[in-house]
Protein backbone atom coordinates (compact mmCIF):
# COMPACT_ATOMS: atom_id res chain seq x y z
CA UNK A 1 0.00 0.00 0.00
CA UNK A 2 2.66 2.43 1.10
CA UNK A 3 5.45 0.56 -0.53
CA UNK A 4 6.24 3.41 -2.96
CA UNK A 5 6.53 5.80 -0.06
CA UNK A 6 8.73 3.32 1.77
CA UNK A 7 10.96 3.02 -1.25
CA UNK A 8 11.29 6.77 -1.55
CA UNK A 9 12.23 6.99 2.10
CA UNK A 10 14.86 4.31 1.64
CA UNK A 11 16.32 6.13 -1.35
CA UNK A 12 16.50 9.23 0.79
CA UNK A 13 18.22 7.29 3.54
CA UNK A 14 20.74 5.91 1.08
CA UNK A 15 21.58 9.47 0.01
CA UNK A 16 21.94 10.61 3.60
CA UNK A 17 18.83 12.76 3.41
CA UNK A 18 18.09 13.92 6.96
CA UNK A 19 14.38 14.38 6.36
CA UNK A 20 13.94 10.75 5.27
CA UNK A 21 15.85 9.56 8.30
CA UNK A 22 13.67 11.63 10.56
CA UNK A 23 10.46 10.43 8.93
CA UNK A 24 11.45 6.78 9.19
CA UNK A 25 12.50 7.28 12.78
CA UNK A 26 9.39 9.09 13.95
CA UNK A 27 7.02 6.83 12.00
CA UNK A 28 8.36 3.61 13.41
CA UNK A 29 9.76 4.24 16.84
CA UNK A 30 6.37 4.30 18.67
CA UNK A 31 5.46 0.83 17.38
CA UNK A 32 8.78 -0.63 18.51
CA UNK A 33 8.61 1.17 21.84
CA UNK A 34 5.19 -0.31 22.41
CA UNK A 35 6.39 -3.83 21.63
CA UNK A 36 9.37 -3.54 23.94
CA UNK A 37 7.47 -1.89 26.78
CA UNK A 38 4.93 -4.69 26.57
CA UNK A 39 7.71 -7.24 26.80
CA UNK A 40 9.57 -6.29 29.94
CA UNK A 41 11.64 -3.53 28.42
CA UNK A 42 12.18 0.10 29.31
CA UNK A 43 12.09 3.19 27.12
CA UNK A 44 15.87 3.17 27.02
CA UNK A 45 15.85 -0.43 25.85
CA UNK A 46 13.39 0.59 23.14
CA UNK A 47 15.66 3.40 22.01
CA UNK A 48 18.75 1.17 21.93
CA UNK A 49 17.05 -1.63 20.06
CA UNK A 50 15.37 0.67 17.59
CA UNK A 51 18.57 2.56 16.84
CA UNK A 52 20.38 -0.72 16.39
CA UNK A 53 17.75 -1.73 13.85
CA UNK A 54 18.05 1.64 12.12
CA UNK A 55 21.79 1.03 11.80
CA UNK A 56 21.06 -2.34 10.21
CA UNK A 57 18.70 -0.68 7.77
CA UNK A 58 21.04 2.23 7.06
CA UNK A 59 24.06 0.07 6.40
CA UNK A 60 22.03 -2.21 4.18
CA UNK A 61 20.78 0.64 2.01
CA UNK A 62 24.28 2.11 1.93
CA UNK A 63 25.53 -1.12 0.44
CA UNK A 64 23.01 -0.49 -2.28
CA UNK A 65 21.67 -4.01 -2.62
CA UNK A 66 18.80 -3.85 -0.16
CA UNK A 67 15.54 -5.05 -1.61
CA UNK A 68 12.51 -4.30 0.47
CA UNK A 69 10.47 -7.49 0.43
CA UNK A 70 7.87 -6.28 2.91
CA UNK A 71 6.69 -2.99 4.21
CA UNK A 72 9.41 -0.99 5.90
CA UNK A 73 7.43 -1.08 9.13
CA UNK A 74 7.31 -4.85 9.02
CA UNK A 75 11.03 -5.11 8.35
CA UNK A 76 11.97 -2.81 11.23
CA UNK A 77 9.54 -4.54 13.54
CA UNK A 78 10.96 -7.95 12.70
CA UNK A 79 14.53 -6.81 13.23
CA UNK A 80 13.70 -5.15 16.55
CA UNK A 81 11.72 -8.14 17.68
CA UNK A 82 14.61 -10.46 16.92
CA UNK A 83 17.16 -8.18 18.56
CA UNK A 84 15.01 -7.83 21.64
CA UNK A 85 14.43 -11.56 21.93
CA UNK A 86 18.16 -12.06 21.69
CA UNK A 87 18.77 -9.55 24.42
CA UNK A 88 16.10 -11.13 26.60
CA UNK A 89 17.20 -14.69 26.36
CA UNK A 90 20.65 -14.88 24.92
CA UNK A 91 20.61 -16.83 21.73
CA UNK A 92 17.89 -19.31 22.65
CA UNK A 93 14.54 -18.57 21.10
CA UNK A 94 12.04 -19.93 23.57
CA UNK A 95 8.84 -18.50 22.28
CA UNK A 96 7.58 -15.80 20.01
CA UNK A 97 6.73 -12.38 21.34
CA UNK A 98 3.09 -11.51 20.83
CA UNK A 99 2.72 -10.88 17.16
CA UNK A 100 0.09 -8.74 15.58
CA UNK A 101 1.59 -8.24 12.18
CA UNK A 102 1.73 -10.61 9.27
CA UNK A 103 4.37 -13.34 9.05
CA UNK A 104 7.64 -11.60 9.87
CA UNK A 105 10.10 -11.33 7.00
CA UNK A 106 13.20 -13.49 7.47
CA UNK A 107 15.87 -11.32 9.08
CA UNK A 108 18.23 -13.99 10.37
CA UNK A 109 20.73 -13.62 7.56
CA UNK A 110 20.68 -9.86 7.79
CA UNK A 111 21.38 -10.00 11.48
CA UNK A 112 24.18 -12.52 11.13
CA UNK A 113 25.83 -10.25 8.61
CA UNK A 114 25.25 -7.37 10.96
CA UNK A 115 27.10 -9.14 13.74
CA UNK A 116 30.19 -9.26 11.56
CA UNK A 117 29.82 -5.58 10.80
CA UNK A 118 29.45 -4.82 14.49
CA UNK A 119 32.61 -6.74 15.21
CA UNK A 120 34.56 -4.76 12.60
CA UNK A 121 33.02 -1.57 13.94
CA UNK A 122 34.24 -2.20 17.46
CA UNK A 123 37.67 -3.29 16.17
CA UNK A 124 37.98 -0.01 14.34
CA UNK A 125 36.75 1.94 17.35
CA UNK A 126 39.30 0.23 19.55
CA UNK A 127 42.12 0.95 17.07
CA UNK A 128 41.08 4.58 16.80
CA UNK A 129 41.01 4.85 20.55
CA UNK A 130 44.64 3.77 20.56
CA UNK A 131 46.15 5.99 17.87
CA UNK A 132 45.47 9.08 19.98
CA UNK A 133 45.33 12.73 19.00
CA UNK A 134 45.95 14.49 16.74
CA UNK A 135 45.99 11.35 14.58
CA UNK A 136 42.35 10.52 15.15
CA UNK A 137 41.08 13.94 14.17
CA UNK A 138 43.42 14.29 11.23
CA UNK A 139 42.23 11.00 9.77
CA UNK A 140 38.59 11.83 10.43
CA UNK A 141 38.95 15.26 8.91
CA UNK A 142 40.62 13.93 5.80
CA UNK A 143 38.85 10.64 5.14
CA UNK A 144 35.40 11.27 6.57
CA UNK A 145 34.83 14.99 6.49
CA UNK A 146 36.90 15.22 3.31
CA UNK A 147 38.75 18.34 4.30
CA UNK A 148 41.76 19.41 2.24
CA UNK A 149 45.30 18.90 3.52
CA UNK A 150 45.68 22.68 3.60
CA UNK A 151 42.78 23.12 6.02
CA UNK A 152 44.14 20.35 8.17
CA UNK A 153 47.64 21.85 8.20
CA UNK A 154 46.09 25.14 9.26
CA UNK A 155 44.05 23.61 12.01
CA UNK A 156 46.89 21.62 13.56
CA UNK A 157 49.60 24.21 13.01
CA UNK A 158 51.72 22.39 10.43
CA UNK A 159 53.89 24.69 8.43
CA UNK A 160 52.65 23.35 5.12
CA UNK A 161 50.30 20.82 3.59
CA UNK A 162 53.15 18.46 2.76
CA UNK A 163 54.07 18.09 6.43
CA UNK A 164 50.47 17.50 7.37
CA UNK A 165 50.24 14.90 4.63
CA UNK A 166 53.26 13.03 5.94
CA UNK A 167 51.75 13.11 9.42
CA UNK A 168 48.48 11.77 8.01
CA UNK A 169 50.26 8.83 6.39
CA UNK A 170 52.08 8.03 9.60
CA UNK A 171 48.76 8.06 11.43
CA UNK A 172 47.19 5.85 8.81
CA UNK A 173 50.01 3.34 9.08
CA UNK A 174 49.59 3.20 12.83
CA UNK A 175 45.88 2.67 12.48
CA UNK A 176 46.43 -0.04 9.90
CA UNK A 177 48.88 -1.85 12.14
CA UNK A 178 46.52 -1.73 15.12
CA UNK A 179 43.46 -2.68 13.12
CA UNK A 180 44.99 -5.71 11.42
CA UNK A 181 46.85 -6.83 14.53
CA UNK A 182 43.54 -7.55 16.24
CA UNK A 183 42.12 -10.92 15.51
Amino acid sequence: MNIERDQELLQGLAMNDDKSLETIYLDNFPMVAKMILQNNGSEDDAKDIFQEAMIVLYEKVQEGNFILSSRLKTFLYAVCRRLWLKKLQGNALNGPIYEDLEEPPPVEETLEAQEEKDLLFSKMEASMGKIGEPCKTILEDYYIHRKSMLEIADRFGYTNAENAKNQKYKCLMRLKKLFFAQK
Binding site: A33, M54, Y58, E59, I97, K123, M124, Y143, N166, L175
Partner: protein
Protein backbone atom coordinates in the same frame (compact mmCIF):
# COMPACT_ATOMS: atom_id res chain seq x y z
CA UNK B 1 60.52 2.61 -1.54
CA UNK B 2 59.92 3.48 2.10
CA UNK B 3 56.62 2.85 3.84
CA UNK B 4 55.32 6.38 3.65
CA UNK B 5 56.09 6.57 0.00
CA UNK B 6 54.40 3.24 -0.61
CA UNK B 7 51.26 4.20 1.26
CA UNK B 8 51.13 7.42 -0.68
CA UNK B 9 51.46 5.54 -3.94
CA UNK B 10 48.75 3.12 -2.92
CA UNK B 11 46.46 5.97 -2.13
CA UNK B 12 47.11 7.68 -5.44
CA UNK B 13 46.55 4.35 -7.18
CA UNK B 14 43.23 3.72 -5.41
CA UNK B 15 42.03 7.30 -5.80
CA UNK B 16 42.74 7.13 -9.52
CA UNK B 17 45.26 9.96 -9.37
CA UNK B 18 47.98 8.10 -11.28
CA UNK B 19 48.64 8.71 -14.93
CA UNK B 20 48.12 5.76 -17.26
CA UNK B 21 51.80 4.71 -17.45
CA UNK B 22 52.20 5.07 -13.66
CA UNK B 23 49.16 2.96 -13.20
CA UNK B 24 50.39 0.28 -15.54
CA UNK B 25 53.72 0.19 -13.74
CA UNK B 26 51.97 -0.11 -10.42
CA UNK B 27 49.75 -2.91 -11.71
CA UNK B 28 52.86 -4.81 -12.77
CA UNK B 29 54.41 -4.21 -9.38
CA UNK B 30 51.26 -5.38 -7.67
CA UNK B 31 51.16 -8.59 -9.65
CA UNK B 32 54.80 -9.37 -9.07
CA UNK B 33 54.98 -8.48 -5.38
CA UNK B 34 52.35 -10.23 -3.29
CA UNK B 35 53.26 -8.11 -0.29
CA UNK B 36 52.34 -4.94 -2.14
CA UNK B 37 49.17 -6.53 -3.43
CA UNK B 38 48.18 -7.41 0.12
CA UNK B 39 48.94 -3.88 1.29
CA UNK B 40 46.64 -2.46 -1.37
CA UNK B 41 43.79 -4.72 -0.29
CA UNK B 42 44.38 -3.91 3.34
CA UNK B 43 44.46 -0.21 2.63
CA UNK B 44 41.14 -0.49 0.85
CA UNK B 45 39.59 -2.49 3.67
CA UNK B 46 40.93 -0.15 6.30
CA UNK B 47 39.54 2.97 4.70
CA UNK B 48 36.24 1.30 3.95
CA UNK B 49 35.87 0.33 7.58
CA UNK B 50 37.12 3.69 8.76
CA UNK B 51 34.46 5.46 6.74
CA UNK B 52 31.78 2.99 7.79
CA UNK B 53 32.57 3.81 11.40
CA UNK B 54 32.32 7.48 10.66
CA UNK B 55 28.96 7.05 8.96
CA UNK B 56 27.59 4.94 11.74
CA UNK B 57 28.61 7.46 14.37
CA UNK B 58 27.14 10.27 12.32
CA UNK B 59 23.89 8.32 12.00
CA UNK B 60 23.78 7.77 15.76
CA UNK B 61 24.36 11.46 16.35
CA UNK B 62 21.50 12.36 14.02
CA UNK B 63 19.21 9.81 15.61
CA UNK B 64 19.92 11.21 19.06
CA UNK B 65 18.81 14.59 17.80
CA UNK B 66 15.63 13.12 16.33
CA UNK B 67 14.97 11.10 19.43
CA UNK B 68 15.09 14.23 21.55
CA UNK B 69 11.89 15.37 19.78
CA UNK B 70 9.95 12.36 20.98
CA UNK B 71 8.08 13.06 24.17
CA UNK B 72 8.55 10.53 26.93
CA UNK B 73 5.92 7.85 26.64
CA UNK B 74 3.10 8.81 28.92
CA UNK B 75 2.63 6.51 31.83
CA UNK B 76 -1.03 5.65 32.42
CA UNK B 77 -2.25 8.50 34.57
CA UNK B 78 -3.57 7.60 37.98
CA UNK B 79 -7.27 8.35 38.01
CA UNK B 80 -8.14 11.54 39.76
CA UNK B 81 -10.73 10.97 42.43
CA UNK B 82 -12.83 13.79 43.63
CA UNK B 83 -12.72 13.84 47.37
CA UNK B 84 -15.97 13.74 49.18
CA UNK B 85 -16.40 13.97 52.89
CA UNK B 86 -15.73 10.79 54.83
CA UNK B 87 -19.29 10.60 55.92
CA UNK B 88 -20.69 10.62 52.41
CA UNK B 89 -18.31 7.80 51.52
CA UNK B 90 -19.41 5.68 54.43
CA UNK B 91 -23.05 6.17 53.58
CA UNK B 92 -22.46 5.39 49.95
CA UNK B 93 -20.46 2.28 50.78
CA UNK B 94 -23.10 0.97 53.12
CA UNK B 95 -25.81 1.51 50.55
CA UNK B 96 -23.74 -0.16 47.86
CA UNK B 97 -23.09 -3.18 50.04
CA UNK B 98 -26.73 -3.71 50.77
CA UNK B 99 -27.66 -3.31 47.13
CA UNK B 100 -24.95 -5.74 46.08
CA UNK B 101 -25.97 -8.37 48.59
CA UNK B 102 -29.60 -8.15 47.64
CA UNK B 103 -28.99 -8.45 43.95
CA UNK B 104 -26.46 -11.27 44.32
CA UNK B 105 -28.88 -13.14 46.50
CA UNK B 106 -31.67 -12.74 44.00
CA UNK B 107 -29.46 -13.84 41.13
CA UNK B 108 -28.31 -16.91 43.04
CA UNK B 109 -31.85 -17.96 43.88
CA UNK B 110 -33.06 -17.39 40.33
CA UNK B 111 -30.15 -19.26 38.79
CA UNK B 112 -30.61 -22.20 41.06
CA UNK B 113 -34.26 -22.43 40.15
CA UNK B 114 -33.49 -22.15 36.47
CA UNK B 115 -30.79 -24.75 36.67
CA UNK B 116 -32.96 -27.26 38.50
CA UNK B 117 -35.64 -27.02 35.89
CA UNK B 118 -33.38 -27.37 32.90
CA UNK B 119 -30.14 -29.26 33.49
CA UNK B 120 -32.04 -32.38 32.72
CA UNK B 121 -32.50 -31.23 29.14
CA UNK B 122 -28.85 -30.43 28.42
CA UNK B 123 -26.45 -33.13 27.64
CA UNK B 124 -22.89 -32.80 26.60
CA UNK B 125 -21.80 -34.88 23.70
CA UNK B 126 -18.66 -36.55 24.85
CA UNK B 127 -18.62 -40.20 24.06
CA UNK B 128 -18.48 -43.10 26.47
CA UNK B 129 -16.57 -45.67 24.55
CA UNK B 130 -18.31 -49.02 24.58
CA UNK B 131 -17.01 -52.50 24.12
CA UNK B 132 -17.63 -52.78 20.42
CA UNK B 133 -15.58 -49.70 19.85
CA UNK B 134 -12.91 -51.03 22.13
CA UNK B 135 -12.47 -54.10 19.99
CA UNK B 136 -12.57 -51.98 16.86
CA UNK B 137 -9.84 -49.91 18.29
CA UNK B 138 -7.80 -52.90 19.26
CA UNK B 139 -7.99 -54.12 15.68
CA UNK B 140 -7.03 -50.72 14.46
CA UNK B 141 -4.05 -50.37 16.67
CA UNK B 142 -2.74 -53.68 15.36
CA UNK B 143 -2.37 -52.21 11.93
CA UNK B 144 -1.35 -48.81 13.14
CA UNK B 145 2.40 -48.92 12.93
CA UNK B 146 3.37 -45.29 13.00
CA UNK B 147 2.63 -44.07 16.48
CA UNK B 148 0.50 -46.01 18.86
CA UNK B 149 -1.73 -44.79 21.61
CA UNK B 150 -2.15 -47.27 24.45
CA UNK B 151 -4.25 -50.25 23.36
CA UNK B 152 -6.88 -49.36 25.92
CA UNK B 153 -9.11 -46.97 24.00
CA UNK B 154 -9.82 -44.74 26.94
CA UNK B 155 -12.86 -43.93 28.92
CA UNK B 156 -14.21 -40.89 27.16
CA UNK B 157 -13.83 -39.42 23.76
CA UNK B 158 -14.36 -36.11 22.08
CA UNK B 159 -12.95 -33.94 19.34
CA UNK B 160 -10.40 -31.15 19.32
CA UNK B 161 -8.86 -28.97 16.62
CA UNK B 162 -5.62 -27.10 16.14
CA UNK B 163 -5.32 -23.44 17.02
CA UNK B 164 -1.62 -23.08 16.37
CA UNK B 165 1.04 -24.80 14.31
CA UNK B 166 2.92 -25.79 17.41
CA UNK B 167 0.41 -28.27 18.76
CA UNK B 168 -2.11 -26.19 20.67
CA UNK B 169 -5.66 -27.57 20.43
CA UNK B 170 -8.98 -26.45 21.73
CA UNK B 171 -11.68 -28.79 22.99
CA UNK B 172 -14.43 -28.84 25.61
CA UNK B 173 -13.61 -28.77 29.25
CA UNK B 174 -16.08 -31.57 29.96
CA UNK B 175 -14.23 -33.84 27.55
CA UNK B 176 -11.01 -33.74 29.50
CA UNK B 177 -12.32 -33.00 32.99
CA UNK B 178 -10.69 -35.27 35.55
CA UNK B 179 -8.38 -36.88 33.02
CA UNK B 180 -5.32 -38.78 34.11
CA UNK B 181 -3.90 -38.72 30.66
CA UNK B 182 -5.06 -37.45 27.30
CA UNK B 183 -4.21 -38.73 23.85
CA UNK B 184 -5.28 -37.18 20.61
CA UNK B 185 -5.39 -38.99 17.33
CA UNK B 186 -5.82 -37.79 13.79
CA UNK B 187 -7.68 -39.40 10.96
CA UNK B 188 -4.51 -41.14 9.79
CA UNK B 189 -4.30 -42.97 13.09
CA UNK B 190 -1.27 -41.07 14.42
CA UNK B 191 -1.61 -40.52 18.14
CA UNK B 192 0.00 -37.87 20.30
CA UNK B 193 0.10 -37.45 24.02
CA UNK B 194 -1.38 -34.14 25.08
CA UNK B 195 -1.64 -32.13 28.26
CA UNK B 196 -4.25 -29.64 29.28
CA UNK B 197 -2.73 -26.19 29.62
CA UNK B 198 -5.80 -24.04 30.18
CA UNK B 199 -9.31 -24.76 31.32
CA UNK B 200 -12.29 -22.47 31.53
CA UNK B 201 -15.15 -24.20 33.26
CA UNK B 202 -17.69 -21.43 32.77
CA UNK B 203 -17.54 -21.53 28.99
CA UNK B 204 -16.69 -25.25 28.94
CA UNK B 205 -13.50 -24.79 26.93
CA UNK B 206 -10.03 -26.24 27.41
CA UNK B 207 -6.76 -25.74 25.61
CA UNK B 208 -4.54 -28.78 25.08
CA UNK B 209 -0.97 -28.89 23.97
CA UNK B 210 0.75 -31.81 22.28
CA UNK B 211 3.37 -32.96 24.76
CA UNK B 212 6.05 -33.31 22.07
CA UNK B 213 7.48 -29.79 22.02
CA UNK B 214 8.95 -30.34 18.58
CA UNK B 215 5.53 -30.79 17.01
CA UNK B 216 4.89 -28.55 14.00
CA UNK B 217 1.97 -28.82 11.64
CA UNK B 218 1.36 -27.18 8.30
CA UNK B 219 -0.17 -23.72 8.53
CA UNK B 220 -3.78 -23.71 9.62
CA UNK B 221 -6.23 -23.54 6.73
CA UNK B 222 -8.89 -21.69 8.72
CA UNK B 223 -8.99 -18.47 10.67
CA UNK B 224 -11.00 -17.47 13.71
CA UNK B 225 -14.06 -15.36 13.02
CA UNK B 226 -14.19 -12.47 15.41
CA UNK B 227 -17.66 -11.12 14.75
CA UNK B 228 -20.75 -13.06 15.73
CA UNK B 229 -22.80 -14.43 12.86
CA UNK B 230 -26.57 -14.34 12.52
CA UNK B 231 -29.27 -17.01 12.53
CA UNK B 232 -29.81 -18.58 9.13
CA UNK B 233 -26.12 -18.77 8.26
CA UNK B 234 -25.14 -22.21 7.03
CA UNK B 235 -22.48 -23.93 9.09
CA UNK B 236 -20.66 -27.26 9.11
CA UNK B 237 -18.56 -29.31 11.44
CA UNK B 238 -16.23 -32.29 11.51
CA UNK B 239 -15.89 -34.46 14.57
CA UNK B 240 -15.33 -37.94 15.90
CA UNK B 241 -18.61 -39.45 17.05
CA UNK B 242 -16.99 -42.72 15.96
CA UNK B 243 -13.43 -43.69 15.11
CA UNK B 244 -13.82 -42.11 11.73
CA UNK B 245 -14.11 -38.39 11.16
CA UNK B 246 -17.71 -37.43 10.37
CA UNK B 247 -19.02 -34.36 8.56
CA UNK B 248 -22.22 -32.62 9.58
CA UNK B 249 -24.05 -29.64 8.13
CA UNK B 250 -26.64 -27.31 9.58
CA UNK B 251 -27.46 -23.69 10.28
CA UNK B 252 -27.35 -21.22 13.13
CA UNK B 253 -30.83 -21.21 14.63
CA UNK B 254 -30.44 -18.68 17.45
CA UNK B 255 -28.04 -16.06 18.63
CA UNK B 256 -27.93 -17.48 22.14
CA UNK B 257 -27.28 -20.91 23.50
CA UNK B 258 -28.88 -23.06 26.14
CA UNK B 259 -30.97 -21.00 28.54
CA UNK B 260 -30.11 -17.75 26.84
CA UNK B 261 -26.35 -18.22 27.19
CA UNK B 262 -24.96 -15.28 25.23
CA UNK B 263 -21.54 -16.88 24.84
CA UNK B 264 -23.04 -19.61 22.66
CA UNK B 265 -25.15 -20.17 19.56
CA UNK B 266 -27.98 -22.56 19.09
CA UNK B 267 -27.25 -24.61 16.03
CA UNK B 268 -29.52 -26.86 14.12
CA UNK B 269 -27.16 -29.67 13.29
CA UNK B 270 -26.92 -33.37 13.95
CA UNK B 271 -24.40 -34.00 16.71
CA UNK B 272 -23.67 -37.20 18.52
CA UNK B 273 -21.63 -38.13 21.53
CA UNK B 274 -18.03 -37.59 20.48
CA UNK B 275 -18.72 -34.34 18.67
CA UNK B 276 -17.84 -32.30 21.75
CA UNK B 277 -15.05 -29.89 20.99
CA UNK B 278 -15.49 -30.06 17.22
CA UNK B 279 -15.00 -26.87 15.24
CA UNK B 280 -18.05 -25.18 13.71
CA UNK B 281 -17.25 -23.34 10.48
CA UNK B 282 -19.16 -21.09 8.15
CA UNK B 283 -19.25 -21.50 4.38
CA UNK B 284 -16.08 -19.47 3.96
CA UNK B 285 -14.23 -21.86 6.22
CA UNK B 286 -13.88 -19.51 9.17
CA UNK B 287 -14.22 -21.05 12.61
CA UNK B 288 -17.29 -19.52 14.21
CA UNK B 289 -17.69 -21.77 17.23
CA UNK B 290 -16.98 -24.97 19.10
CA UNK B 291 -19.65 -27.66 19.50
CA UNK B 292 -20.32 -28.26 23.19
CA UNK B 293 -23.59 -30.04 23.71
CA UNK B 294 -27.15 -30.63 22.62
CA UNK B 295 -30.62 -30.48 24.01
CA UNK B 296 -31.57 -33.97 25.07
CA UNK B 297 -35.30 -33.48 24.78
CA UNK B 298 -35.22 -32.91 21.05
CA UNK B 299 -32.96 -33.97 18.24
CA UNK B 300 -30.99 -31.63 16.04
CA UNK B 301 -30.64 -28.84 18.58
CA UNK B 302 -27.02 -28.32 19.45
CA UNK B 303 -25.03 -25.60 21.10
CA UNK B 304 -21.68 -24.09 20.25
CA UNK B 305 -19.48 -21.63 22.11
CA UNK B 306 -18.87 -18.53 20.00
CA UNK B 307 -15.42 -18.06 18.50
CA UNK B 308 -15.28 -14.52 19.87
CA UNK B 309 -15.24 -15.98 23.32
CA UNK B 310 -12.52 -18.44 22.37
CA UNK B 311 -10.45 -15.52 21.17
CA UNK B 312 -10.82 -13.76 24.52
CA UNK B 313 -9.75 -16.96 26.22
CA UNK B 314 -6.69 -17.33 24.00
CA UNK B 315 -5.70 -13.77 24.79
CA UNK B 316 -5.33 -14.85 28.39
CA UNK B 317 -2.82 -17.56 27.56
CA UNK B 318 0.81 -16.71 28.32
CA UNK B 319 1.97 -14.66 25.39
CA UNK B 320 5.40 -16.19 25.17
CA UNK B 321 4.12 -19.74 24.82
CA UNK B 322 1.18 -19.47 22.50
CA UNK B 323 1.49 -17.75 19.16
CA UNK B 324 -1.76 -16.11 18.14
CA UNK B 325 -0.68 -15.36 14.65
CA UNK B 326 -1.28 -18.89 13.40
CA UNK B 327 -5.00 -18.28 13.56
CA UNK B 328 -4.69 -15.02 11.69
CA UNK B 329 -3.18 -16.47 8.57
CA UNK B 330 -4.88 -16.25 5.23
CA UNK B 331 -7.94 -18.43 5.21
CA UNK B 332 -7.21 -21.23 2.73
CA UNK B 333 -10.74 -22.63 2.71
CA UNK B 334 -12.49 -19.63 1.22
CA UNK B 335 -13.92 -20.29 -2.20
CA UNK B 336 -13.29 -24.03 -2.20
CA UNK B 337 -16.08 -26.50 -2.63
CA UNK B 338 -17.10 -28.45 0.44
CA UNK B 339 -15.23 -31.63 -0.47
CA UNK B 340 -11.99 -29.70 -0.84
CA UNK B 341 -12.66 -27.80 2.37
CA UNK B 342 -13.15 -31.01 4.31
CA UNK B 343 -10.03 -32.54 2.84
CA UNK B 344 -7.99 -29.66 4.18
CA UNK B 345 -9.85 -29.34 7.45
CA UNK B 346 -9.63 -32.97 8.51
CA UNK B 347 -5.89 -32.81 9.00
CA UNK B 348 -6.39 -30.36 11.82
CA UNK B 349 -9.24 -32.10 13.63
CA UNK B 350 -8.29 -34.76 16.15
CA UNK B 351 -10.05 -37.34 18.25
CA UNK B 352 -9.51 -36.86 21.97
CA UNK B 353 -9.19 -39.94 24.14
CA UNK B 354 -9.26 -39.52 27.85
CA UNK B 355 -8.06 -42.00 30.42
CA UNK B 356 -9.17 -41.73 34.00
Amino acid sequence: MNDIHLIQEIERYLDGEMSAPEREAFDVLRRSDSNIDRQVTEHQLLLQQFRANGQRKELLRKMEAIHAQIPAIAKPATPVVKMRSKRTWLNLAAAACIALLTSLGTIAVMQKAAKNSSTAQYEDVRRVLNNIQRSQNALKSDINIIKKAPINPGTFGGTCFAISRSGYMVTNYHVIAGADSIYIQNNKGEAFKAVSVFEDVSSDLAVLRIADSGFRSASLPYSLKQLPILPGEEVFTMGFPRDEIVYGKGYISAKTGFNGDTLAYQVSIQVDPGNSGAPLLDNNGEVIGIITGKQSSSDGIAFAVKSGHLKRLLDELPKDKFSRKDLKQQNQLNGLNRVEQLKKLEEFVYMVKVYN
